[in-house]
């Protein structure tokens, strides 16, 4: 066992990478839930995003087009959720599960000819001087641009929810859809947009795993990240900055357990590998005492009867 092989600077830099898929998916789901919709299909949208992005990046040679494709892929899958929950008024829990089961199968089908291929590499930020600084350089100035996009998205969603009229309307719809409808707001339309946004974010998060974090395609490679993202939204009390904090905490746990595996710690690999899931459960338990921040209409079906 050699813990000294673990470099703290690289650890922080890599935890940011590990956290980004979670963050992207969680920010998307946070917006969806703020609009009063519970979409449990995050895992399915992520994995479909992962393969869509991967396939398009491989075919076009452009990781950027890949990420755009991933966002579109995630959004298209979320459209199925829209049809089920907003048009056919189906139960949101069941529909989300259906989305995940369907997405897992669909991604496996789409990805058959992509197993074992290496995707085109994504450029990293390289600012002269800044990126070469010790400690600060690798942590702050040497990542791929999607990672910064994730942080920018967090800031944008925070601003939108807190200060913009659009954010106010979104929160209103999530708090009390009947009242929002009575004021003349288009509840269904607003929710559809939120769900599509959530799908696109989940798709981006999935593609981040297949194009940058791993990078390759294997079936079921999201391995529960989508579910952890759902837990993260609860952890964050539906607040964007807390989602960022939570994503980095979980990213840290993942990276540390991987480093411990590599360093050959005397704990069996399986027990290290289960630690992120166990910690997710523990965090959920600690935070479940306070439910007061949940949007009041979360998961309820809206139908504008006379």
């Amino acid at each position: 066992m050699d813990l000294s092989a673990i470099n703290p600077v690289l650890l922080v830099a890599s935890l940011m990478v590990a956290a980004t898929p979670l963050l992207l998916a969680a920010i998307g789901e946070l917006v969806v839930e703020r609009a009063g919709v519970l979409n449990l299909g995050v895992e399915g949208m992520m994995i479909v995003g992962a393969i869509s992005g991967f396939a398009i990046a491989v075919e076009t040679g452009s990781p950027w087009l890949g990420f755009i494709g991933a966002a579109v892929g995630g959004a298209i899958l979320s459209l199925l959720f829209v049809v089920l929950t907003q048009v056919a008024l189906a139960n949101q829990v069941a529909s989300g599960l259906a989305l995940t089961l369907f997405g897992l199968g669909l991604s496996a089908l789409m990805g058959q000819s992509y197993v074992g291929i290496k995707p085109p590499a994504m450029g990293k930020l390289d600012i002269p001087v800044l990126s070469d600084l010790p400690v600060v350089g690798p942590i702050l100035f040497s990542h791929d641009l999607i990672l910064y996009l994730g942080i920018a998205l967090t800031a944008a969603v925070w601003w939108m929810l807190k200060y913009s009229r659009m954010g106010l309307i979104l929160r209103a719809v999530g708090e009390n859809h009947d009242a929002a409808h009575a004021l003349g707001y288009k509840v269904i339309r607003i929710r559809i947009l939120a769900i599509l946004f959530g799908g696109a974010c989940a798709g981006l998060g999935g593609a981040y795993i297949s194009l940058i974090r791993v990078p390759q395609w294997t079936e079921g490679m999201t391995a529960g990240v989508g579910w952890i993202a759902l837990a993260l939204v609860v952890f964050a009390s539906w607040k964007p900055w807390r989602a960022l904090l939570g994503a980095y905490l979980f990213g840290g746990v993942t990276v540390i357990q991987l480093n411990l595996q590599a360093a050959g710690v005397a704990i069996p690999v399986e027990y290290l590998a289960m630690s992120p899931y166990v910690i997710t459960i523990l965090v959920l338990v600690i935070l479940s005492a306070d439910k007061s921040r949940a949007p009041a209409s979360l998961g309820r079906i809206f139908h504008a009867s006379h």
């Binding site: 009575a182 009041a296 006379h306």
Partner: protein, 505 residues
């Protein structure tokens, strides 16, 4: 007479199985307070929803100051100067006052400016309100102020008010009326919807009366007696419940020093409640909605548990008992919310009869259900309470509000309770069903049951109770005998004006 502000001609709107409005016509003049009078289900709400753009009429036209008016959505109605204060406030509990008001405006100013304007308007009209308080923490009266100020900020030409006084104490009603009169003097027209006749006689210049969706008459309220208006509204002379003279027995239910926090975030905690009800007595508990009524019912039904001694039935502590154990002892309850609380909407009436009847009617043995007996019980309720339904296999949600309420009350009454607690027993129920329900409660009391009736309808409470108390912010006033009780005294028991100021007219 000059061009009316709003002219309605032949408005008709039908829903499957019911014509909500049938060829309704009337005019509202400039600066006029116009009453729309009718029973629950007469079609008042549908009519104003059409004026406000929430519902599109099947046929008929409206014109605003002579120009055709057909708002496709509330936004358009607001742009034309129509504002509405809803009966059930369309407010967002988790947002603050200013945010709530901004949501109701087309182009709200920045939050800081908006807050300043809210303060300004609220002072002008004597409706004090802090723009940054969370709406969920406000009292019913304060919540109504949010709605009114939201409307006033848009300088409306027509203000629609749907049953505005049902959530106010008599003193608060008086203040509201002064605000409305000030608005009228500034030239704003008001469409005032109510079924309370005395109010309309005090406030309104003109009244249109609706019955079963039809315009059945118009009058000048100041010159028409309440009795005449009532007859136009109801169509027939009503049978008022008969109170038999009765003597009270021993104490059946005893609440001592009861304090419980509310289980919901924006609910009201009960604070140091004391009350006793004797056999054969009807205790009426008044008060504005949201002052602890739901919590009090839950404490009595066993949905909220308390210290064992805080609630005693016939001297036996029941505070730690769940609903089933209490039913076994003869303490029965009927909550306010019919669909979803007192009854399961998608389940049949038979299943809903089982919901509370299983213990006392012997509808189960060792956990196994006796469906035949349960069906019999449901049929007995339907028969005894004249519930209009094709049969007990129909879902609860297929019944009209009044019929379901008769079923819910009947289900408890037929189980011969020792103590029966009802919350809002006639809310949203037509007059005939309401009279039947009140009579059933009085009959029950005459047979020796102790009845607690929680209601916001003061007329109803005065009609059936022997003793009256009021809930105000989770506290219960000392119960008093109803004989000789004045409206002013009742108002003070209900919390007076809840800290409101009188408008500087």
């Amino acid at each position: 007479m000059s061009t009316p502000l709003l002219s309605i001609k032949g408005l008709t709107k039908a829903y499957p199985g019911v014509v909500a409005n049938d060829n309704v016509s009337f005019d509202i003049g400039e600066g006029e307070v116009h009453a729309l009078l009718g029973e629950n289900g007469a079609g008042k709400s549908t009519l104003v929803k059409m004026i406000y753009g929430l519902v599109k009429p099947d046929s008929g036209t409206m014109s605003l100051r002579g120009a055709p008016y057909a708002p496709p959505e509330p936004r358009a109605a607001r742009a034309d100067g129509i504002a509405m204060v809803f009966q059930h406030f369309s407010l967002f509990d988790a947002l603050n006052v200013a945010e709530n008001i901004a949501l109701g405006m087309e182009n709200p100013p920045a939050m800081g400016d908006l807050a300043a304007r809210i303060r300004e308007v609220s002072e002008t009209y004597g409706l004090p309100l802090d723009p940054f308080r969370t709406v969920g923490d406000l009292s019913a009266g304060e919540r109504q102020r949010v709605e009114i100020i939201r409307c006033l900020l848009q300088d409306p030409k027509l203000l629609i008010m749907d049953e505005p006084t049902s959530v106010l104490t008599p003193q608060e009603v008086e203040i509201l009326f002064q605000t409305l009169q000030k608005l009228r003097s500034e030239g704003t027209s008001i469409l005032y919807i109510s079924h309370k006749l005395e109010e309309i006689r005090t406030l309104c210049d003109h009244a249109t009366i609706l019955r079963l969706g039809k315009n059945v008459g118009e009058c000048t309220p100041r010159e028409t007696s309440a009795r005449d208006m009532a007859e136009m509204m109801v169509g027939t002379a009503l049978k008022t419940p008969q109170r038999a003279g009765r003597a009270f027995g021993e104490i059946a239910l005893d609440i001592t020093g009861l304090s419980v926090p509310s289980p919901s975030e924006f609910g009201t905690s009960l604070k140091n409640l004391h009350l006793t009800v004797r056999k054969g007595e009807v205790l009426g508990i008044g008060g504005v909605a949201g002052n602890g009524q739901d919590e009090l019912l839950a404490v009595l039904s066993g949905e909220i548990l308390t210290a064992a001694d805080a609630v005693k039935k016939d001297g036996q502590p029941v505070g730690r008992m769940g609903p089933t154990a209490r039913r076994r002892l003869g303490l029965l309850t009927a909550p306010e919310e019919r669909l979803g609380h007192a009854a399961a909407p998608n389940m049949s009436l038979t299943e809903n009869a089982l919901l509370t009847g299983s213990v006392r009617e012997g509808l189960e043995s060792n956990g196994f259900l006796k469906w035949a007996e349960t069906r019999d019980f449901a049929e007995r309720i339907i028969k005894a309470f004249d519930v209009r339904t094709p049969g007990p296999e129909n879902a609860a949600r297929s019944l009209s509000g009044g019929n379901l309420q008769k079923f819910v009350i009947g289900r408890e009454v037929l189980q011969n309770p020792d103590v029966l607690v009802v919350n809002q027993p006639t809310w949203g129920v037509d007059a005939a069903a309401a009279a039947a329900i009140r009579q059933a409660l009085l009959d029950l009391a005459a047979r020796g049951t102790a009845v607690i009736c929680i209601s916001q309808d003061l007329d109803e409470l005065m009609e059936i109770s022997d003793t009256f108390a009021a809930l105000n912010e989770g506290r219960l006033s000392t119960p008093r005998t109803t004989t000789g009780l004045t409206v002013d005294e009742i108002g003070l028991m209900m919390g007076g004006a809840h800290g409101m100021e009188v408008a500087h007219v």
